[in-house]
């Protein structure tokens, strides 16, 4: 089941380093020659690099069909410290290839989309020179992600883990000099970075503990020995898994470390789609799936995982209902869906988690990209309007749904793909989301009733807020001038959307109940519980979704918002509760009060009395001593080069004398 | 006579008190030296006489006063017209403002007139001799400057001249 060091490896496996090196090549080309190439060429090169990676993944898939147990392809020795022997090797097995395929497929499409999107965005933001930088970062992200998923040991995985974090930081703060007050974007990046670092700290401890317990970091060495180690140190396994969970909550935005993800929407839309919806945030899920063996050895931890996931799913869905920013809604939706996946892992349904991960990648990327298309067209319209009227009266927030409306006619393609995405997310049969989400709910139904209820409630809210969003954005009439001027985006943008929409429609096929096979596929790598299709559960969730959409229509569809400033109908009925939800339950403020305030006080203490008083005193004293000595020695420095040379020669002569008389 | 030229002449007459002299269909404006810079500025800027073709002078020694006429030949590329401006200068220390700032081409022309006639151009940026050696005495084109010829050799005075002629040594 695990790594086999047989030499009868299919040579096709040897291509695996290319998944990393192709994007690297893309970076090099763009970095070295990008200035001369022009935008189209830069984008094409970056897309080709990722596309190449995708092709490589396909080759690996093909290779795996004959050798499904997978191989570890060593590239080079990394370092050896004592007993720690880390090699830089790639793990090719069914799990990692699934991740590679998903990441690269979605990544390629998003890269293509970004060629068109970033062109306009860069112009709108007023710095076209950053176009090249964007694609370099994007390729860098793909590299890091590939390292993460193809890692053969925890350390390499950690490198990828941190790499994606870095790229996420860089890309959130891509327009670091823009945003509210010129620093909002930079703040958002910082927040994401620091928050996830807290999680990473947990992961790091988990890795240390693993090394301590197993004496190795290689997956191949660890997983087969879980049983014996768990028997010896039962508590240790719990600690490892919980610390690992801490890392997961950071990276995959689970309670309590989810707060960075909504703010991360400050990055350009392709970034939101690729990193903060489709790929990076699912790394936590991947990590837990990969470490399934560890979790199986610690049932208590599994329980915690389950609860964290489920509560996150519901909590985020509630917040999403009351948001106005089109991307924020999607962001909370992402958190919520990630909650589903984490819950699925906790429920022991890792395949369901992976399944939902893949379909979610498709439709959430689709939704983000479509929202990007909308935002872009509003920005464009704003600029046209500004030129037309010569004033800044049209300067509105292009992401606020209250400023939209009636876009169905203006942007038909975007509308249809958005609709597909929304329906998929809501879990309407027979779209992909229906199957994947249903599998998770079914697993919950088998295991834990409360979880089942929570997840169904979350599903209801999901359908509701998606309905709300569709109705606010596309129906009714245009509430601003910009919305009335909006036009459909260019084919470079819409074509990837259409492809993603098709994938969202048919994506369910990869684990069609009873027919296919993601489960069988993953069987080669992880333990799989055979899932069953439970018709009642499916019916319940489907009908709940439909009801939710109907309610949404009742509230938002019948009487669409009249003005961009008018109050949300829900707010009218719910009042303060809505406001509280809209303000995300004031979690940020809470965190500030609980952690950041005391921390600042502590820092102040160290800065003033300790550092300036005590430590500086020592340093200054030493400095003064040196300067006194120096001013005395200074007399030797007469500034004449030749006299220095004289000293050197004198030195040589003396050394020679020593050498002569030494015998 | 050309209508446009007529306009120019009347305008100049009223503004700079010029008088007109006509000969063989050529028009010359006679002007006081003090007016030369504003007059040429007006001709260039208002009447498109954009090229200064020549600056020269005539010495009327000893018949006339004022002794020198400084002569400016102007040409208008646009109207294909020429006009002459003559400024009357006094005898002993003739001087006039330079028009170098209006027409850069006047630089060398004025240097030449200075060199050969001894007319000072006030405000000129580089008033050195141009044709004659720098240490030359006198201004050759003045009427009171001798031609400086040597006697022509004939058979009867051949010996005479050969004796006085400087001969090169190796």
């Amino acid at each position: 089941m695990f790594l086999s060091e047989t030499t009868s490896m299919d040579p096709l496996f040897l291509v695996v380093p290319l998944v990393v090196f192709l994007p690297l090549l893309g970076i090099l080309v763009n970095w070295l020659f990008g200035k001369r190439l022009g935008e189209k060429a830069i984008g094409t090169i970056a897309s080709l690099a990722v596309g190449g990676s995708f092709v490589v993944s396909l080759i690996l898939l093909f290779a795996l069909r004959t050798d499904p147990q997978g191989f570890s392809v060593p590239l080079m020795q990394w370092f050896t410290v004592g007993g720690l022997d880390i090699s830089w090797s790639f793990r090719v097995d069914t799990l990692s290839v699934v991740m590679m395929l998903a990441v690269n497929l979605v990544g390629t499409l998003i890269h293509i989309y970004a060629i068109g999107y970033m062109h306009e965005d860069a112009i709108h933001q007023g710095d076209p020179t950053r176009y090249r930088r964007f694609f370099i970062f994007m390729n860098l992200f793909i590299i890091a992600m590939m390292i993460l998923v193809s890692a053969d040991n925890f350390l390499m995985l950690f490198v990828g883990w941190e790499g994606v974090g870095l790229c996420s930081y860089l890309l959130i703060g891509f327009w670091f000099d823009k945003g509210e007050g010129g620093i909002a974007n930079a703040q958002a990046g910082k927040k994401a970075f620091i928050t996830t670092r807290i999680g990473d700290f947990g992961l790091l401890i988990a890795i240390f503990l693993i090394f301590w317990a197993f004496g190795s970091l290689n997956f191949g060495d660890i997983f087969p020995r879980v049983g014996e180690v768990a028997a010896n140190h039962p508590g240790l396994m719990l600690a490892i898994t919980l610390f690992m969970l801490m890392g997961v909550t950071g990276k995959s935005a689970q309670i309590p470390l989810y707060v960075w993800l909504p703010d991360a929407m400050a990055g350009p839309t392709p970034v939101s789609a690729l990193i903060h919806a489709a790929t990076m945030v699912t790394a936590g899920v991947y990590l837990m799936t990969r470490s399934q063996a560890l979790y199986l050895a610690a049932p208590a931890a599994q329980n915690v995982v389950m609860w964290v996931g489920a509560i996150t799913a519901l909590f985020a869905a509630i917040i999403a209902v009351a948001q106005f920013d089109i991307k924020k809604v999607l962001a909370y939706s992402t958190i919520s869906q990630l909650g589903y996946m984490v819950a699925a892992v906790g429920l022991g349904a890792e395949t369901a988690a992976m399944f939902h991960l893949v379909t979610h990648a498709f439709f959430k990327a689709l939704l983000f990209l479509s929202s990007g298309s909308i935002i872009l067209s509003l920005e464009r319209a704003m600029e046209e309007g500004a030129q037309g009227s010569g004033s800044h009266a049209t300067n509105i927030d292009p992401q606020d749904m209250r400023n939209m409306g009636g876009l169905r006619k203006k942007m038909p393609t975007t509308f249809w793909v958005y609709l597909v995405g929304a329906l998929t997310l809501s879990g309407i049969a027979p779209l992909a989301g229906f199957f994947s989400k249903d599998e998770i709910i079914a697993a919950a139904n088998n295991t834990n009733g409360i979880i089942f209820v929570v997840l169904v409630a979350a599903a209801f809210l999901t359908a509701f807020y998606m309905g709300r969003q569709i109705l606010m954005v596309f129906f009714g009439k245009a509430r601003t001038k910009a919305a009335s001027l909006a036009k459909e985006s260019a084919p470079l943008i819409t074509v990837p959307l259409i492809i993603l929409a098709l994938l969202s429609i048919v994506g369910g096929a990869i684990n069609f109940p009873g027919w296919l096979n993601l489960e069988h596929w993953l069987e080669h790598t992880i333990k799989v519980h055979e899932s069953t299709f439970q018709l009642p559960v499916a019916l319940i969730s489907l009908s709940i979704a439909l009801i939710a959409i109907l309610i949404a229509w009742l509230i938002y569809g019948r009487k669409p918002l009249a003005e961009s400033t008018s109050k949300d109908p829900l707010a009218r009925s719910l009042g303060g509760v809505f406001t509280l939800v809209n303000q995300k339950f004031k979690v940020d403020e809470l965190y500030h009060f609980l952690f950041i305030g005391p921390y600042e006080k502590l820092a102040d203490f160290f800065a003033h009395p300790v550092d300036q008083g005590f430590i500086d005193g020592i340093a200054n004293g030493l400095g003064n001593l040196a300067s006194e000595t120096g001013s005395w020695l200074r007399k030797l420095q007469n500034g004449f080069v030749r006299s220095y040379v004289l000293s050197i020669v004198a030195g040589i002569v003396i050394i020679l004398i020593y050498l002569l008389v030494r015998v | 006579m050309n209508e446009y030229l007529k306009q120019v002449i009347t305008a100049m007459e009223s503004r700079f008190n010029t008088s007109l002299e006509q000969f063989r269909e050529e028009s010359s404006l006679i002007v006081k030296p003090a007016f030369i810079v504003p007059l040429l500025t007006a001709l260039r800027d208002e009447f498109q006489f954009d090229m200064l073709m020549d600056v020269t002078a005539v010495d009327y020694f000893p018949q006339e006063t004022p002794r020198f006429h400084a002569i400016y030949q102007l040409y208008s590329m646009q109207h294909n017209l020429r006009i002459q401006v003559r400024a009357l200068l006094d005898g002993n220390a003739p001087s006039i403002d330079t028009v170098e700032s209006i027409y850069p081409s006047a630089n060398w022309k004025e240097r030449e007139v200075y060199d050969l006639f001894g007319i000072l151009f006030v405000g000129h940026s580089d008033l050195r001799r141009i044709q004659m050696p720098e240490d030359w005495v006198g201004h050759p084109l003045r009427k009171d400057y001798p031609l400086g010829y040597e006697e022509v050799q004939f058979t009867f005075n051949f010996e005479d001249i050969m004796r006085n002629k400087p001969q090169a040594k190796d």
Partner: protein, 99 residues
């Protein structure tokens, strides 16, 4: 002919180079003296290569030549730059290092 003959020659040339650096004030000549010292070292290298029948000495001479060329390129460029500023190649006028 003993090898020490060449070594002695090398030593004398080296000392002459040192004296050149110590005594002359013209920066260019000082530079040339440095080259002389390089050459003295090279001669010793080649002699030892002969002595021990090893190519290593010759190859190091090769590297020394390349580095000397680099050094001269930069040094002379510096000299030209200094001359532009100071109007002289007197090394004693460059005493702003004075403490």
């Amino acid at each position: 002919m003993p090898t020490s003959f060449f070594l002695a020659l090398s030593a004398i040339m080296f000392v002459l180079g040192i004296l050149g650096v110590l005594l002359r004030r013209n920066a260019l000549v000082i530079f040339m003296s440095l080259e002389l010292m390089f050459n003295a070292a090279n001669l010793a290298f080649v002699t030892f290569a002969n002595q021990y029948q090893l190519l290593t000495g010759q190859i190091f001479v090769f590297f020394i030549m390349a580095v000397a060329a680099a050094e001269v390129a930069v040094g002379l460029a510096l000299m030209v730059a200094i001359f532009r500023n100071k109007g002289s190649v007197d090394i004693d006028q460059l005493n702003s290092l004075k403490g």
